[in-house]
Subunit: 366 residues, 4 copies
């Protein structure tokens, strides 16, 4: 039985993770924490879960939110998930490690996503556990599975970066991208991407029937995408010599609850045809349980990936005007593949399980 704890279990990603894990017969939830709801029973705070069979498991129906207790969590967990606002998990991880040096950590927040601590601090403020940063591996599970299998510390990717990097990195790693012009990433996210905070921007009457872009040059997921593309470019080694990747990213919010559709515009290196792109993806994702290539951009839509850990990708080169420009479109569920289900996939890999072990088909909330 895998004993796990979830720190910050009442936000959208925490509660989804809880739902996914509590449904599994091979997992035991040792603790769920919430400052807002400590002392209350899960079923009382989220009556929606009474729909689900998993509450019929005796211990789950009795689960209560607690305040964070370092000692309890250290002693009772094989793995701990952190689902906290940025700069919170980095304050708690060191204390847990002092107590239980072998515990596995999966951080859904941003604290340990960057190789360069300076980049983190530029966008998120002072880091609280910089000395631990290098221990963490970036958990883009469908690309870095081999390394994740041997890791104790995983930082789970952001939702936009997941939707952008899964289609881009295979091309960069294979030296297919011409960096002489920018890679443009245009993303459309459902409202749940803003988290469960109660503010005007999330109110029905303010978002219904509308669409907008936000943080047009300054979204925190831009440097995350950028660093990972640069790393992949450097690691792909010498097959090209042009400049540093220049990434442009624009997030938009659309009136749906869930999902991210990402449209990417990039230039291919000379000689890289649509067929070669197809081969690259086939090589990368041919055996993947989660990433699949669609023949048709219209099939690569949100409906087809809702509630899943899947990423759908479609691509097409400009045969008319200029063969070298490629559009790549990806669709994910921002809370599933973009957060909680990728975290479960990471846990599976870290524990030597099949990556798709116990990934649920649905989540009743939100």
């Amino acid at each position: 039985m895998i004993k796990i704890s979830i720190v910050g279990a009442s936000g959208y990603s925490g509660i989804y993770l809880l739902y996914a894990l509590a449904s599994r017969p091979d997992v035991f939830i040792s603790a769920i924490t919430s400052q807002t709801y400590s002392g209350k029973k899960l079923s009382e705070v989220f009556p929606v879960f009474s729909k689900s069979g998993f509450l019929k498991r005796n211990y789950v129906s009795e689960l209560k939110f607690e305040l964070f207790d370092r000692d309890k969590i250290s002693e009772s967990s094989d793995a701990v998930f952190f689902c906290l606002p940025h700069n919170e998990s980095s304050k708690l991880v060191p204390g847990i490690l002092n107590k239980n040096g072998k515990i596995k950590i999966i951080d859904i927040g941003a604290d340990f996503r960057f190789d360069e601590i300076e980049t983190y601090e530029e966008y998120y403020g002072k880091h609280s556990a910089a000395e631990l940063n290098s221990k963490f591996l970036y958990g883009l599970a469908d690309i870095f599975a081999d390394k994740i299998k041997n890791s104790q510390f995983i930082s789970n990717p952001g939702c936009y970066p997941t939707g952008a990097l899964l289609p881009i990195l295979p091309l960069v790693i294979n030296g297919a991208v011409d960096f002489s012009i920018p890679i443009i990433i245009d993303s459309l996210s459902g409202i749940s991407g803003r988290g469960r905070s109660v503010k005007p921007d999330n109110m029905f009457c303010e978002v219904e029937n509308s669409v907008k872009a936000y943080n047009v040059w300054s979204h925190r997921h831009l440097p995350e995408i950028k660093e990972k593309v640069e790393n992949a470019h450097l690691n792909s080694g010498g097959r090209q010599e042009n400049s540093t990747p220049y990434i442009i990213f624009t997030p938009h919010v659309i009136p749906v609850s869930r999902g991210i559709l990402t449209t990417i515009y990039l230039k291919l290196n000379k000689g890289v045809t649509e067929e070669i792109v197809s081969e690259v993806y086939e090589k990368f994702y041919g055996g993947s349980p989660f990433v699949s290539i669609r023949g048709n951009a219209e099939d690569c839509n949100l409906k087809n990936v809702l509630y899943s850990n899947n990423c759908h990708i479609a691509f097409k080169a400009d045969k008319k005007q200029n063969k070298e420009m490629l559009k790549v479109i990806s669709a994910i569920d921002n809370l599933g593949k973009g957060a909680s289900l990728q975290a479960v996939q990471n846990m599976n890999l870290m524990l030597g399980l099949e990556p798709d072990s116990g990934i649920p088909e649905y989540s009743p909330f939100p």
Copy 2:
């Protein structure tokens, strides 16, 4: 009293036009045609209009849809609007002109939008009145108002081109754009953009909670945008010498009824700062009743332009990574500014009226 006829008055753009014009005291509707509904009263086919005060005008409440009658329309109209599928208006215009050489024509369809008949035919098939094509002026009303005032024949721009060209053309005309890399136009359209056709793609259950891209390299509005940008580039004359504009356009459909949000990525020429961009727009649109520049991308959203003939524009240069890349965002109502209200604006200009004369604030359908 301005006598007008609307040919094809039962689609989304025709009915909106009818609503806008029938509300005006200075306009008399001579005829409305519809193959589907001929013989039926407007108020019977569209009970929603009974909400509106305009049906209280006696003649309007008695209006009936008719079959197209060349003679009747030629004799009873000062101006005729065509709201038909492509390649239909070009079959009817010559007959009307034979009868009434002075009649003003505003075509909401695509038939006369292109300077190059070859481009039209590549995307839409054989043209039925190529000899008339050069008489038509492209009615992008906020840019070409002076020419429109003296025109008898106007082709009303497509919805996506309106959303793209209003922000792009002033920059091109002022030589601000560096064409060494593509201009990328990423657009999000409400469902009504597909017209009132009854097909699975327009059904609630199929589009709700989803988003997708379509016609990713082949949408018919791409060559329209391209031709107008090229023309502007040529006309701006010699302030740069780089290659032909390369335009990339991706339409997406989002689960709202109305509106188009367009995000544009382009490179500025050396020395063109955000401040200069601001001046260009101020010079172009400073006195415009319809186009306004928003200081903030989040304010440039669909909600702020619904049911209007307005175009909101926001822009921002990349100060962090590279000053030369500019994002420009525009928001329009696809049926208002993108079709019927721009057609009214064109009519106003052609008739020597104020451009904002009788532009309604709302439309009860769709």
Copy 3:
């Protein structure tokens, strides 16, 4: 020029009222108050209004939210609108009247809606100005227009009561209703009915794709409906002798921004046929600019009344099972007819203007 002030101008009903009144050439807005936004300009807090032509009126574009100032408002207003949470307007009205005994008051809140102060206090708590209560007239404008014309103090009806009473009262007044069984009122309201408060219940992800009933036996609008039906029953005098009206009311919240659809089930007195019902409504509403009877229940829908001061009514007796049961359906815009536009209608009546004078067709927010 009619000088008005709006106390509490930043909620949904206040801002709508402001929009409606500021668009009028015969109205001058003297003051708008808001605790949250005092000191800020209207156009800054609600950029959506920059869409609207009314901000081009110089003084409107300069309007600032202020704190409530009894003296300023008393001196500068012919009429004052209160758009406040319950039990707030009753604290402010007396002070204003001390300063300006002739000022007209229209209260959109609940404080003065009840004849019986005990009923108010049972549902809303201690009343702060019980001595003024009897001065106020219940402003159901399409029914009590004659009395409203001579009133100085109007309490504007609640949104659900407006949707319920407009169809019910004419039947009760004409002695058509058999009270031996309950009148059942089943209402469906858009999210904006809950006001602009920022709470989980109003968040997109929590209400999208769902529907629920709430306050199933205890909603505050029940006693309001009940009192007005009882009054009408008593006033209709002696044409029947059965018991006190028994009203059952169930509000539901549905995932649209605006509108209330009400389905009413009632028993007709013996001999009251569908034709007689039709005559009753014709007599009552035949000349009304706002209330109209639809021949078809499907036409009596939200879409047909959005943004309007209209009430659509459809009705049908059970010809198959039992002629005496009648269903009546009404559709209103909860913020228009159900709040701000009915308030404007009331103001028009109080000032001797046409009831439909300056009623806008649209509101850009929410």
Copy 4:
């Protein structure tokens, strides 16, 4: 291995059934029929299913829609599901029975739902297999489970009747209802309830932001509800002596894809308290895997039952005005509990399996 066929597998209920059954290891799909899509592969017609793991089962990914073939289906099936427009299954069932007298039949359509063939014919037209009608049992699975276990022929209840009868029948069977006044059933259904037909009423732009009632006294589900309530009343025997049940039913369509919320108003017999109602439900549904009683009307909402075979019920008596009136609210997924998943539950019962065996948590379409 249970061999099943689905006749009419490309509508909303057929495809959902297919999804549910094809996911099961103990079921083998022998044939799926569709006139529209015959000859095409499932995965080609519904690419959305490629998301789902069930297409990885080899035979499922190869499934093709076929034309109806009596012999093939008779020979290769243990059970056949019919998901056809009314009056279609009754034409096909006799031929299949001639070939395979032991085959189990579950008809999701209306053909065999009525005890009284006259009632059927009044609402649906001439019946094609009246001689078989009496063999069919009404498959309201949570109430008639014991009889269903021994049945070969099941007619699956309509969606509205399921939402209405699950809460009403236990009260009627226990003699709790006073029939001296009507039972009023007010239902709100998502758009998918109209089926997958492509017509204006189902188009996004026509239903979004609106709500309406339809077929206000004549919906075909009214006589179905009525017959079952009358039967239960008669069978409950002599604990009361008032008149025939009078049922009033109003369906509304709301802008969500799925779900039915039903609000029921009924009078309790003297002495039947809220506590007794609670006991009745506890006795009936206490051990049910699918029906649960919620303490709070707000929890009895669509979100909590989406994609499920659950029925949530909440109830409350009028303690203030009159103890004897009861409101009961139920929430179901119209396509799950209201159609396909209840059909699976019926199949499970007929085959001696646990009722909740293989009920999926989700359906990717619609």
